[in-house]
Amino acid sequence: MADAPILTASAVLDLAQPLPLDGGQSLEGVRVAYETYGALNVDRSNAILICHALTGDQHVASPHPITGKSGWWIRMVGPGLPIDTDRFFIICANVLGGCMGSTGPASPAPDGRPWAMRFPVITIRDMVRAQVALLDALGIAKLHAVVGGSMGGMQALSLAANFPDRTAAALIIASTARHSAQNIAFHEVGRQAIMADPQWQDGDYHGAGNKAGKGPEKGLAVARMAAHITYLSEEGMHEKFGRRLQDREEKTFGFDADFQVESYLRYQGLSFTDRFDANSYLYITRAMDYFDLAEEHGGQLSDAFAGSSARFCLISFDTDWLYPTAESRRIVHALSAAGAPVSFVELSAPFGHDSFLLDVPALDRVVAGFLHQ
């Protein structure tokens, strides 16, 4: 049946209850947009929640409605693939604060206008609360596993730590238990680029005075360009672009995109603005910067996992300098100290932080092996 299409469903859940937030507020009328793949079994025990990364979305294995591109993890999720839709019921929801259907700063506030910067600052744990509310609505008491790369890994960690009864396993790829000063610094560059764009207008770019859809696109593109550099490795970039020139024989002695790497980054920045809301970018990066799982649990990371009986697996990549192996090791040592069953491997791949999304055969084997138990 390998040729049969995956049983896919897109849906939107309106939470009946207000969502309590770490900031002290409570958010009414929260909407969670999600996709599912495969079928839930009779005893509802085969569900896997995939948590997406900063600029990801719920379209993990189905085409993106705006760009038309294939799902962001089709090499991992599908029939017979490591996250096997023939065997598991896969759920992936757009995060709280996102811009692909879940409640975020572009959603209407109670007064009917977009929340914009009136939207409360949210945390990774708030995102997880929304994920758990979705599980409640789907009648899934306990996940077979929660899986995530990068910011998705933070959510997987947070879910396993804060809702220990809700998952039997957690798979955390290329992630961290806290944002480092360097991580925060890069995000701040991105936010300042957005806020420095005159089109940002203190976040109120949705208003009638604006052409439809015209936000701080230049600022958002620069933010994306800066972030994109952190997703690649120096070696990978050198191999892909070197000092090669873009469609020209010689340097122009000007400021056009002479180099291929410039042209590539400009394209990445520009195309990003077609599918992402600038205020969402501010809020989600803020949530990541605020993330410190140890701090949430009295300063001792191992205490975060004291109540957990889940199996854990952590994977890092040797060329990832955004969330380097040392960050995964910190988590592994904390889990070991907490007595949790934990596996950890640093895989070799040339793609930097993005390795978790790309062709790394050893990753497939580890993911499949960890989940198929």
Partner: protein, 196 residues
């Protein structure tokens, strides 16, 4: 049934069913898999080689990529019934510290190693005047991972100096067990069960 290396089979046979076990240097996880399947153990591993760790995780085992010299410090005192170090002691930077760590983490420890005082090794050094290359020590001196060759007598001396108790010891020649008599000369391989 997993076909285990002789020293591993011997260790597996002497691990109490249902116990918590940490196998340091667990390779591709054969011993862990056997302990889990056949003795109902909560078996965890540590392994330095990426491909081996990937294989272990793919087998459904809980294995951490790590280095016995650096990463044992993060385990809690007495958090395992047994800590196992099979054919790894002689590859560590500081075998004495690793040994202390094993007995800190585990209530008891199994340690196995190739005996550098086996007569074949002695003879090779005596007659040839060269570092021995034998069945158990098949790699030339310049590329061997065995950076701390040890004999049964050396090991016993270290145990005595550190106040470590030998609960049991087994000696192998090839795949066969031999008696204790002149083990330091006759045994190719030694396995100790240790405690404090």
């Amino acid at each position: 049934m997993i076909q285990l290396r002789p020293d591993l089979a011997l260790i597996a046979a002497h691990v109490a069913p249902g116990s918590r076990v940490l196998d340091v240097g667990c390779g591709d996880g054969d011993l862990l898999a056997a302990l889990r399947a056949e003795r109902g153990c909560d078996a965890r591993g540590m392994e330095i080689d990426t491909a081996n760790v990937a294989e272990c995780v793919a087998r459904g085992l809980s294995v951490i990529q790590g280095d016995a010299d650096a990463d044992l410090a993060f385990y809690q005192n007495q958090s395992f019934d047994y800590a196992i170090l099979s054919q790894t002691l002689q590859t560590t930077m500081r075998p004495d510290r690793v040994l202390e760590d094993l007995l800190r983490i585990g209530k008891r420890a199994f340690v196995s190693f190739p005996n550098f005082a086996h007569w074949r090794v002695r003879l090779s050094l005596l007659l040839g005047g060269r570092m021995p290359v034998t069945r158990l020590l098949p790699v030339a001196w310049y590329e061997t991972p065995n950076i701390h060759h040890v004999t049964i007598a050396d090991f016993r001396a270290l145990l005595a100096a550190r106040g470590i108790r030998v609960e049991q010891a087994w000696f192998l020649r090839g795949d066969h067990r031999i008696g204790d008599a002149m083990a330091n000369l006759r045994a190719e391989h030694a396995i100790f069960l240790l405690s404090r």
